[in-house]
C-alpha cells in the first residue's frame, strides 16, 4: 500500500508525540517540579528551551505537560467514542422510541456549547484528572453519537442489510458483521478530529484555571504560568502553542488520509 507523503509526515510526528508522552520520565532531562535554574533563563545548552517562571526546566515541563495533555485527551476520546458509538448504533438499529429518546437528549446537550456546559459543571464539582476525563468524554460523546447514528442509519437502509434481515440474522450479526465494517473508516477519521478537539479543550480549561491543577504540568497550564513573561518579551508561554499546533496538524493529516481512503472505497481488506 502506498502512503502519501503528507500522511507519512503526520504519522511520524504523531508517533513521536505519543512516544515522548509515554516515556516522559526517561526522556525529560530534569524532574517535573524541580527548580533547577533562575527565573525565565534564556535557552542554553543546559536548558534547551530555558526555564519557567519559578526556574524549572521548560523542556522538562513541556515533555511532562505533553504527557498529561495527551493522556487526558486520549482517555477522554476513548470514553467519548465508546459511549457515543455504542449508543449511536443502538439508536440507529433499534429505531422507534429508543432512537427518539436518545436523539432528543443529545439534541438538548448539543444546544448548549460544551465549554459553557463544562464551566457550569466544573463550578460545582471537585476538579481531578478523573472528573476532567469523564466530563470531557461524556460531553463530547454527543458528537460521536450523532456521527455514529448517521453513518449506521445510512448503512442500515442498504439492501445488503435488508437481505440479512430477510435471511433472519440476529441484531448482533447485523451490527458487527454488516454495519460496523462499513462504518469503521469514517469513525476512525472522526476519532482523530475528536482527539485534537480534546487537546484544545483540556488546554483551554487548564488555562482558565479550572483544568489540570498545579504542580502537575500540562500545555494549557504552562501558558497560564508563563503568560506574564510575554509582557517582558519572554516567549516561554508560546512553546505549548507550537506543540499543540504541530500535533493537531499531524493528526489532521492522518485523518484526511483515512477519509480519502474511505471515499474511494474499493473492496480492499482494510
Amino acid at each position: 500500500m502506498r502512503i502519501p507523503l503528507s500522511a507519512m509526515i503526520g504519522l511520524i510526528l504523531t508517533g513521536l508525540y505519543f512516544f515522548a508522552a509515554i516515556f516522559a520520565s526517561w526522556i525529560a532531562p530534569y524532574g517535573m517540579a524541580e527548580a533547577v535554574g533562575d527565573v525565565w533563563e534564556p535557552s542554553s545548552a543546559a536548558h534547551w528551551l530555558g526555564t519557567d517562571q519559578i526556574g524549572r526546566d521548560l523542556l522538562t515541563r513541556m515533555i511532562y505537560g505533553g504527557q498529561t495533555t495527551i493522556f487526558i485527551a486520549t482517555a477522554a476520546t476513548i470514553l467519548s467514542f465508546s459511549t457515543g458509538a455504542i449508543f449511536g448504533f443502538i439508536a440507529a438499529v433499534s429505531g422507534g422510541w429508543v432512537d427518539q429518546i436518545l436523539s432528543r437528549f443529545v439534541d438538548l446537550m448539543m444546544s448548549i456549547p460544551s465549554l459553557i456546559l463544562a464551566l457550569v459543571i466544573l463550578s460545582a464539582i471537585d476538579v481531578t484528572v478523573l472528573t476532567l476525563i469523564v466530563l470531557m468524554g461524556l460531553l463530547d460523546s454527543t458528537r460521536v453519537f450523532r456521527l455514529a447514528r448517521a453513518v449506521a442509519v445510512d448503512i442500515s437502509v442498504m439492501e445488503y442489510v435488508e437481505a440479512a434481515r430477510l435471511r433472519g440474522e440476529k441484531i448482533f450479526w447485523i451490527i458487527f458483521r454488516e454495519i460496523l465494517p462499513n462504518a469503521l473508516s469514517p469513525l476512525v477519521a472522526e476519532m482523530g478530529l475528536r482527539f485534537i478537539f480534546m487537546v484544545l479543550f483540556i488546554s483551554t480549561l487548564s488555562f482558565l484555571g479550572i483544568g489540570v491543577q498545579p504542580p502537575l504540568a500540562d500545555w494549557g497550564g504552562i501558558v497560564k504560568e508563563n503568560k506574564d513573561g510575554i509582557n517582558f518579551g519572554i516567549g516561554a508561554a508560546l512553546y505549548p502553542a507550537v506543540a499543540i499546533c504541530t500535533l493537531a496538524i499531524s493528526v489532521n493529516l492522518v485523518a484526511d488520509w483515512v477519509l480519502t481512503r474511505t471515499t474511494s472505497l474499493k473492496g480492499g481488506r482494510g
Binding site: D107, S111, P113, I121, S123, T204, I230, P240
Partner: protein, 318 residues
C-alpha cells in the same frame, strides 16, 4: 396558513422549548452534582451546622422545582438575585457586561463575515491552485490552535515586540469609539482569525457543493461566462447555505469570546463567567451560562429558519 409559515412557527416554538429545556438542564446539573452553592461558598471551612444554616438562609431547602421556577421567573423579569462572592446584584453586572461583549463580538463578526465569504469565493475560483492552497493551509493552522494561544502569539508579536496595539483591552463606557476600537483591536483580531478559519472552510465547501450541480453545467452550456454562471445561477442557490454557515459560526463566537475576554481582561460576560467559575459562585455561573446558551440557541434557530425560508420548494409549494 402558508405551509412555510407553519414550518417556521414550528421551528420557533421548538426553539422556545429548547431554551427552557436547556435552562432546566443547566439548573439540574448543578442540582444533582455533589455539593451545592452553600458548600461551595463555605469550602473547607464548612461544618454541618454552618452548612445547614446557610442553606436555610439561601433557601436551598425548598424543593428544586420551586427554586427553578423562581429562578427562571426572576431571569425573565430581570431580577437575577445576588452574587455569592460580593453580594452585588447579578442583573446589574450582566447589564453592563453584556453590552461590552456584544460590542466586541459584533466587531469581530463585522470583519470576519465579509472576509470569510470573499476568501471562500477566491478559494473556489482558484480551486486546487495556489491561492486555494495558501488559504486552506493557513486556516488549518488557525483551527489547530486554541484561541488563547493564538491570542498570546499576537500579544507577543504585535503588542510587545511591535507595540502596535495594547496587550490588555482596557475599555470603559465613557471612552470615545476610536479609542475603544484601538483597545480591542487585538481581541477582535483573535476572534476574527478563529471564526474566519471555520467560516471560510465551510463557505468554500458550500459553494463547491452548489458548483457541482447539474444546473451549473446547463448554464455553462448556454454560453454564459464563468462570472455570469456564478452571479445568476450559483449565487442564488448558495445564499442559504452561506447564511447557515455564518450563523453557525457566530454561535461559535459565543464560545470564543469567553476565552478571549479572559486573556485580555476585557470586562465582558465571558470574563464574568470564568471568574465566577473559579470562585465557585454558582448563581452567577447559572445565570450567565444560561445567557450564553440562549444566544447560541437563538443563532442556531435563525440559521434553521433562514434555510427553510430560502428553500424554493417550500416557498413555492405545488
Amino acid at each position: 396558513m402558508h405551509p412555510i409559515l407553519k414550518l417556521v412557527a414550528q421551528r420557533l416554538s421548538l426553539g422556545i422549548i429548547l431554551l427552557f429545556a436547556a435552562s432546566a438542564l443547566i439548573f439540574g446539573l448543578t442540582e444533582i452534582l455533589p455539593g451545592d452553592a452553600a458548600q461551595a461558598q463555605l469550602g473547607q471551612a464548612a461544618t454541618p451546622e454552618s452548612l445547614a444554616n446557610l442553606r436555610e438562609e439561601m433557601g436551598l431547602n425548598r424543593p428544586a422545582l420551586t427554586r427553578y421556577t423562581e429562578w427562571i421567573g426572576g431571569m425573565m423579569t430581570g431580577d437575577m438575585g445576588n452574587a455569592l462572592s460580593n453580594k452585588l446584584p447579578i442583573g446589574e453586572q450582566i447589564g453592563k457586561r453584556l453590552g461590552a461583549t456584544i460590542f466586541l463580538a459584533s466587531w469581530a463578526a463585522l470583519i470576519s463575515v465579509p472576509l470569510a465569504i470573499l476568501l471562500g469565493l477566491v478559494a473556489v475560483r482558484y480551486q486546487n491552485r495556489w491561492p486555494d492552497k495558501v488559504i486552506s493551509g493557513s486556516t488549518l493552522t488557525f483551527i489547530s490552535l486554541p484561541e488563547f494561544m493564538l491570542a498570546y502569539i499576537l500579544i507577543f508579536i504585535i503588542g510587545v515586540k511591535l507595540q502596535w496595539a495594547p496587550s490588555f483591552a482596557n475599555v470603559s463606557p465613557d471612552m470615545p469609539l476610536l479609542e475603544k476600537l484601538h483597545a480591542i483591536s487585538l481581541p477582535v483580531t483573535v476572534l476574527t482569525l478563529v471564526v474566519l478559519a471555520h467560516m471560510m472552510r465551510m463557505t468554500r465547501a458550500a459553494i463547491l457543493n452548489v458548483m457541482q450541480s447539474a444546473y451549473i453545467e446547463t448554464a455553462e452550456l448556454k454560453g454564459l461566462t464563468s462570472f455570469e454562471v456564478i452571479r445568476k445561477h450559483a449565487f442564488p442557490n448558495a445564499i442559504a447555505p452561506i447564511v447557515n454557515v455564518v450563523m453557525l459560526n457566530l454561535a461559535y463566537l459565543v464560545v470564543g469570546v469567553v476565552v478571549v475576554e479572559a486573556v485580555f481582561a476585557y470586562p465582558g460576560m465571558g470574563q464574568y463567567l470564568v471568574d465566577a467559575v473559579v470562585k465557585r459562585d454558582v448563581p452567577v455561573v447559572l445565570t450567565s451560562g444560561v445567557i450564553f446558551a440562549a444566544v447560541y440557541i437563538v443563532l442556531n434557530m435563525i440559521a434553521d429558519v433562514v434555510s427553510i425560508l430560502s428553500n424554493p420548494r417550500l416557498r413555492h409549494p405545488k
